[in-house]
């Protein structure tokens, strides 16, 4: 084929391709300007776990190990202990509490089984998702990282309202 034929063919292709591009420009954008703008996450989003406390600030976890037993990747490590102090002074809601509670985020697959297993609603998935670290050992999070009273929440997310339609926002392409 001649050179002229080539030029015409490629020009056609470019025009075809660019027409798609130009057609999209006026349409609604769904890219999020993270981290300048917060990401909207759904209420049921499964981020970094939170260990909850009751209204007196006592840890709800009674160290029953059911979450650890349910965990398919075996990433939860608990040490149970006895707290003989008076109920109002205790660390936890019960005499039995978790003196150590670790989750290894190098292994966690965010399946939510632990949350489902917990009889005390002591553990839930939070929304923090920025878990990358420079050192693999830092993926091991302790009670100091997980307790709701201690976990620093990222400014980079926003939880959608229950009736907010987040899904279609992304699907409308």
């Amino acid at each position: 084929m001649s050179i002229i034929g080539d030029v015409i063919e490629s020009t056609k292709a470019i025009i075809k391709g660019m027409s798609v591009t130009f057609a999209k420009i006026p349409q609604q954008k769904w890219t999020v300007q993270y981290p300048e703008e917060p990401v909207t996450v759904q209420p049921r989003y499964r981020g970094m776990h939170l260990l909850h406390v009751d209204e007196l600030g006592r840890e709800k976890c009674v160290a029953c190990y059911l979450c650890a037993a349910a965990c398919p990747s075996d990433c939860i490590y608990i040490v149970a202990a006895d707290d003989p102090r008076a109920p109002t002074e205790r660390t936890g809601v019960d005499e039995r509490y978790a003196s150590v509670y670790n989750i290894d985020y190098g292994r966690c697959i965010f399946c939510g089984f632990c949350v489902e297993a917990c009889p005390k609603d002591a553990i839930t998935h939070g929304y923090n998702f920025e878990l990358s670290v420079y050192n693999r050992a830092d993926l091991l999070k302790t009670k100091d990282d997980l307790l709701i009273t201690k976990q620093k929440q990222s400014l980079n997310y926003r939880v959608a309202f229950a009736d907010e339609d987040v899904d279609s926002e992304y699907k409308e392409v």
């Binding site: 009674v62 190990y65 059911l66 037993a69 149970a80 202990a81 006895d82 003989p84 005499e95 039995r96």
Partner: protein, 764 residues
């Protein structure tokens, strides 16, 4: 006598079974699952849980299969809508007052009630009434109690009564307010924890393991107890290199003890991970100086050089080697080999409380097993106190009397608690046990013996008559009070009484330590010197000593500075003790939870000890230390760093252990008995003459006491191992009741140090 066979039909299938068999057992054996709570083989029937219901033709209503004895032609249905409805109803009733707090219940995960509710429970509770409430509390430093979880199966009270003879817990109250409780609110029993073990729910709980972990988190290792000579099989639950608890639950273990353990076996394990465990080898470079941590290489090199110097200067006979009845056969064998092959000395022994060598030299009848004791018809106990020193033997005796109708004859200088089970109790003057043996062995000497014993001659004649007329198994037990001659005569007792149809003599020595029999079998007790003589020879004939374990307090009494006279002393130990005080080198040894090996119990059973956690800190198994030392002195033991190789060699050398291998010892429910050589009838007239003159020399002065010693006077003594358990300090100080039973007494009571020291001096 083979039982008569009868026919029963279960769910349409016909089976043959022994006449007199219990229906629940037969059904289960034939593969029909029958739920039950209160039925417990070998305990009195209770029939309170009503879970074991079956339909039997021609009988009104549903019947409890746990109380029914099979009869010929019985037609039984175990599964039907009617039965299931009744069982589901029972479970619903059981849960009516149950708090359903499995998440915080220590039994969760191994709870029989939980399991039963999985199969027979409803999805919802229909009761809406308020449940009975009672707070969780402590019954003793060792037993925690949550009354709400109780299903009133009364296994605990039956065990306490029938096994332990203590009757310390009982059900009180009526109807739905019935609770299991103690007399006076505080348990002053032997704290065996068997009620905890058999409780199917989380009502009675181990207070030392309270809220520590979950059963499924533990790795379980079947091993042998490291305290008394009964050799109970147990399961060591460990997590992350820490021993968390010890149980005998026969779901995992099925040893000679079933679910039985005593306080020491069950609760005295915290010494394993105790912070005072020796961490590294220690060297005292200068006499009177300090023990300084060293590396293994340095410590072995230093020890080898020092021993070599002593050997070169004074010869092999100047070195003493001392084993221990606490250590495995492997460890003791390595020491014996060290003494014979590396040092070349006959000056070896073991730190045993008393020697049984004369007994084994004249052994005329086989050793009794614990099963034999349970089914014996006559039991003769001379001296000793099995309830405190060999608790499993104590239980077997009690059950033989209570559930088997055995005749128990006790000859003792103290009215021990077992007296209540005895059909004849003869209280003798303290220290005259030998005379009792003389009276049994020779009728002619009964008169003089009775005078020395301070008893009626008729009483002794009665014992002889008992033994003479006895049918079935006659078990002769004896404690450490007997001298060499009396031991020999007792070992030959079966020949004194002669053969009789239907009667069998069995012997059961009552040594104190877990491997007492092992050190006898290996020949370690047959050395030239005994523990006292070896201490006396220190500094004189002996210039150096190699000790595994420590000397007993009774050995060191009056000989406190004997060890300091040595030029060189090597000790391998778990902790600093009175023996390591004078040591020039101390090696950190591994405890029973950290090694593989075998112990031989007082039945002669060679039972496995298995490693459940890696050695703590830098400790090493005793046999390995000995092998390393031998290597440094130029002898290769060829153990290839494996305890099975040590045992293989041991089994080749020791006739009683011939042919034994670790794989043959693997099943704890079928323990293997060492083949102790029976010597047949011996001429013991020389010993008899000797004993006669001994007895004639006994002074007729000793005062007898009428006081029964309190529970735990031996069991709760603080020794090197038990003093590492905080709860033992409370018990040793008399088990005081705390102000509040809602909080662990450990947090409330600080034991007066003076009391504790007093108790510590008493123990060993």
């Amino acid at each position: 006598m083979p039982a008569e066979l009868i026919k029963v039909t279960i769910n349409g299938q016909e089976f043959e079974t022994d006449k007199g068999a219990r229906l629940i057992d037969v059904c289960r054996e034939k593969g029909f699952a029958i739920p039950s709570f209160c039925y417990y083989a070998d305990l009195a029937l209770q029939a309170s849980c009503r879970m074991c219901l079956v339909r039997i033709e021609k009988m009104p209503k549903l019947q409890t299969s746990c109380t029914i004895t099979c009869t010929d032609g019985m037609i039984v249905t175990t599964e039907s809508e009617e039965i299931e409805k009744a069982q589901r109803g029972m479970v619903e009733f059981l849960l009516a007052n149950h708090p359903l707090d499995c998440p915080v219940c220590d039994r969760g995960g191994e709870c029989e009630l939980q399991e039963m509710v999985f199969d027979w429970g409803g999805l919802e509770e229909r009761f809406t009434e308020k449940k009975n409430y009672a707070p969780e509390k402590f019954l003793s430093p060792i037993v925690a109690n949550d009354p709400q979880r109780c299903i009133l199966c009364k296994r605990c009270t039956r065990v306490c009564d029938e096994w332990m003879g203590e009757d310390a817990i009982e059900a009180g109250g009526r109807g739905s307010h019935t609770v299991i409780g103690t007399y006076g609110g505080w348990l002053n029993c032997s704290q065996c924890g068997n009620c905890i073990e058999v409780c199917p729910t989380g009502t009675l709980l181990d207070a030392t393991y309270r809220h520590q972990t979950r059963p499924w988190e533990l790795s379980r290792t079947i091993s042998t107890c490291t305290f008394c000579s009964d050799g109970c099989q147990l399961s060591v639950g460990s997590r992350g290199g820490e021993v968390m608890r010890v149980v005998a639950r026969d779901r995992y273990v099925n040893g000679l003890n079933g679910e039985f353990l005593c306080i020491k076996g069950r609760f005295a394990h915290p010494f394993v991970n105790h912070e005072e465990r020796l961490r590294t080898p220690l060297i005292r470079y200068k006499k009177g100086g300090k023990l300084i941590p060293a590396t293994w290489d340095e410590a072995i090199r230093y020890t080898a050089a020092k021993l070599r110097a002593v050997l070169d200067a004074h010869g092999g006979e100047s070195v003493g080697v001392v084993g221990s009845p606490r250590l495995t056969n492997e460890a003791n064998y390595a020491l014996l080999k060290f003494a014979r092959e590396v040092v070349g000395t006959n000056n070896y022994t073991a730190t045993e409380a008393f020697s049984l060598v004369p007994f084994f030299e004249n052994l005329g009848a086989p050793l009794a097993t614990h099963k034999d004791i349970r089914h014996a018809k006559t039991i003769l106990l001379i001296g000793g106190e099995p309830e405190e020193l060999q608790p499993l033997t104590g239980r077997q005796i009690r059950q033989a009397v209570r559930n088997g109708g055995a005749k128990l004859v006790i000859i003792n200088s103290v009215p021990i608690r077992l007296k209540h089970a005895a059909s004849q109790f003869i209280q003798i003057r303290p220290g005259t046990e030998d005379a009792a043996v003389l009276a049994l062995a020779s009728k002619d000497d009964a008169g003089v013996a009775a005078r020395k014993l301070n008893v009626e001659a008729g009483a002794l004649e009665q014992v002889r008559q008992h033994l003479n007329d006895a049918q079935g198994d006659v078990i002769v037990m004896f404690g450490g009070e007997l001298g060499a001659e009396a031991q020999s005569l007792l070992a030959q007792l079966s020949f004194t009484f002669g053969e009789k149809e239907g009667r069998r003599f069995l012997l059961h020595p009552l040594p104190l330590f877990n491997n007492s029999l092992g050190v006898h079998d290996l020949g370690l007790m047959g050395g030239a010197l005994n523990p006292l003589e070896i201490l006396d020879a220190a500094g004189a004939q002996l210039r150096a000593m190699y000790v595994a374990g420590s000397f007993l307090r009774t050995h060191l009494e009056g000989r406190e500075d004997a060890l300091s006279k040595l030029d060189f002393l090597v000790v391998q130990e778990l902790f600093q003790t009175a023996t390591t005080e004078h040591a020039d080198v101390v090696f950190p040894a591994a405890s029973f939870a950290e090694v593989d090996g075998t112990y031989t119990n007082n039945d002669g059973f060679v039972q496995r000890v298995r490693q459940s956690i890696p050695p703590i800190h830098q400790s090493k198994p005793d046999w390995m230390i000995t092998a390393m030392l031998a290597d440094a002195l130029g002898t290769d033991f060829g153990f290839q760093m494996s305890s099975s190789a040590v045992f293989l060699e041991l089994a080749k050398q020791i006739p009683a252990y011939e042919g034994l291998r670790y794989p043959l010892l693997k099943d704890e429910s079928n323990p293997v008995q060492a083949r102790h050589a029976l010597v047949g009838q011996r001429d013991v007239s020389a010993q008899l003459v000797e004993l006669r003159s001994l007895v004639e020399g006994i002074e007729e002065t000793g005062e007898t006491t009428t006081q029964t010693p309190p529970v735990g006077h031996e069991l709760f003594k603080l020794g090197t191992l038990t003093s590492k358990v905080p709860q033992f300090h409370l018990l040793a100080a008399g088990n005081p009741e705390p102000e509040s039973v809602l909080i662990s007494p450990l947090y409330q009571i600080t034991i007066d140090p003076a009391l504790r020291d007093e108790a510590a001096v008493a123990g060993d």
